[in-house]
């Protein structure tokens, strides 16, 4: 029961963070033009950006010839002196201006801006950035929807595993047969060596949640439906913040003593070490966030760029080589998905272990 509560708390925290920031496109190094571009390379960059960003509707694919879009819209929830809720289909993919209680909103490159009845969008002088104001955006975007979905999936998988133990004793059945060795792996090889046999139990729920969540979310990011959850730095930020909070709030006295007044070194060194160690407590979860985000984002950008190259080479040899390269890199990404989940979980366990470690001082 406690496990379920903690799991839902984790999912809820992630939801809140990503829905607040998730609709902003990530800062990326590809320049993209705002106007209509006929050049092939620019349109490839537009497509890549569009694929990697969060969006307010679930756009599965669209028919070029008939112009029909297949997918389903998601609710838009805005806070702008009052709550505005409407479905994103009213935007008609950015063509119409939506009116809601005397306020007008328009969709421009995936972001929602306040505007007037004609839908004027004001641009910045040099950078072609839009300078309209934005309302507070709490919508259920694609990423938030997928986080819900993955949470539900994990809940169902683990519930069926837990239930099958009741019926069949020691052996699970169904999906439990696949999950049990992995859960035992997390307990024996990640939790126990790093946290110690005495205290590992209370951290197990978080470690299991984080491991399976990151793994599943990375795997979903490799599918063509275009949901990239760990691509969003807000999501990895939320995960890292949870690790930091758990480390800080379950730490014992020895942990704080080692940070502020490291025993066993001369006094001038202690004074020098204190700010460094304090900064270290923030930098460690920060590096967790950056590592997960950068690995997954870089992998996705590289694969999509190589697929885009397929369209630039219009001959047989270049396109087929690009395709094979993209395929091989895709297989490597499968490994990276699992590896990043493992590394995140292991480093979190390491930080928890240092928080509850008991030293015997002389």
């Amino acid at each position: 029961m406690v496990k379920v509560i903690r799991f839902f708390f984790s999912v809820l925290l992630m939801m809140i963070y990503s829905s607040a920031f998730g609709s902003e496109p990530e800062h990326d190094t590809l320049n993209h033009t705002q106007t209509e571009s006929l050049d092939l390379k620019s349109s490839i960059k537009e497509q890549i950006n569009h694929h990697l960003q969060d969006s307010h509707d679930f756009h599965l694919f669209s028919d070029e010839t008939t112009g029909k879009h297949y997918g389903f819209p998601l609710p838009v929830i805005l806070w702008d002196d009052g709550l505005h809720v409407f479905m994103s289909s009213e935007f008609h993919h950015g063509e119409t201006v939506v009116q809601s209680d005397e306020k007008f909103y328009t969709l421009n490159h995936g972001k929602i801006y306040k505007t007037d009845a004609e839908g004027t969008v004001n641009y910045d002088a040099e950078h072609h950035h839009v300078i309209n104001e934005k309302p507070l955006d709490f919508s259920i975007t694609k990423n938030v929807f997928m986080i819900f979905f993955v949470g539900l999936l994990l809940f169902l998988m683990f519930r069926s595993t837990a239930r099958s133990y009741k019926k069949r004793g020691d052996l699970p059945s169904g999906i439990g047969r696949f999950l049990e060795p992995i859960i035992v792996f997390v307990r024996e090889d990640i939790a126990k060596p790093n946290i110690g046999a005495k205290h590992y139990k209370k951290y197990m729920s978080f470690l299991l949640t984080v491991f399976f969540f990151i793994w599943l979310v990375n795997l979903f990011g490799l599918t063509p439906i275009g949901v990239n959850i760990t691509n969003n730095i807000a999501v990895t930020f939320a995960l890292a913040v949870m690790t930091y909070l758990i480390t800080t709030f379950t730490a014992k006295k020895d942990y704080w003593k080692h940070i502020f007044w490291m025993p066993g070194v001369p006094v001038p060194m202690k004074v020098v070490l204190a700010p460094i160690e304090l900064l270290g407590t923030i930098i460690k979860p920060f590096s967790l966030m950056i590592r997960l985000y950068a690995n997954i984002t870089a992998g996705h950008i590289v694969i999509m760029s190589i697929i885009g190259m397929m369209f630039v080479f219009q001959n047989w040899i270049g396109s087929s080589l690009s395709f094979i390269l993209a395929l091989v890199l895709g297989i490597l990404e499968l490994l990276v998905a699992a590896l990043q989940a493992y590394i995140f979980t292991m480093l979190s366990a390491l930080y928890f272990g240092s928080a509850v470690e008991e030293h015997d001082h002389h």
């Binding site: 190094t29 090889d189 590096s287 950056i290 590592r291 950068a294 690995n295 870089a298 590896l339 990043q340 493992y342 590394i343 292991m346």
Partner: protein, 59 residues
């Protein structure tokens, strides 16, 4: 641009050295392969983390 290239060279050399010494260690003691592989992966991930952070800061 040059900074990004230097970062990748640094990360590449670091991970290459770790891989090399990991392989030597496995050759000496094949029964410790599991532990050595785990340690190698952890060190490689940490180095890659720094590499990516620097790459994002430069680019």
């Amino acid at each position: 641009m040059v900074g990004a290239g230097l970062v990748v060279i640094g990360a590449g050399i670091g991970i290459g050295r770790i891989g090399g010494s990991a392989m030597e260690a496995i050759a000496r003691q094949p029964e410790a392969t599991g532990k050595i592989q785990t340690a190698m992966l952890i060190a490689a991930a940490l180095i890659e983390g720094i590499g990516f952070a620097a790459l994002f800061a430069v680019g």
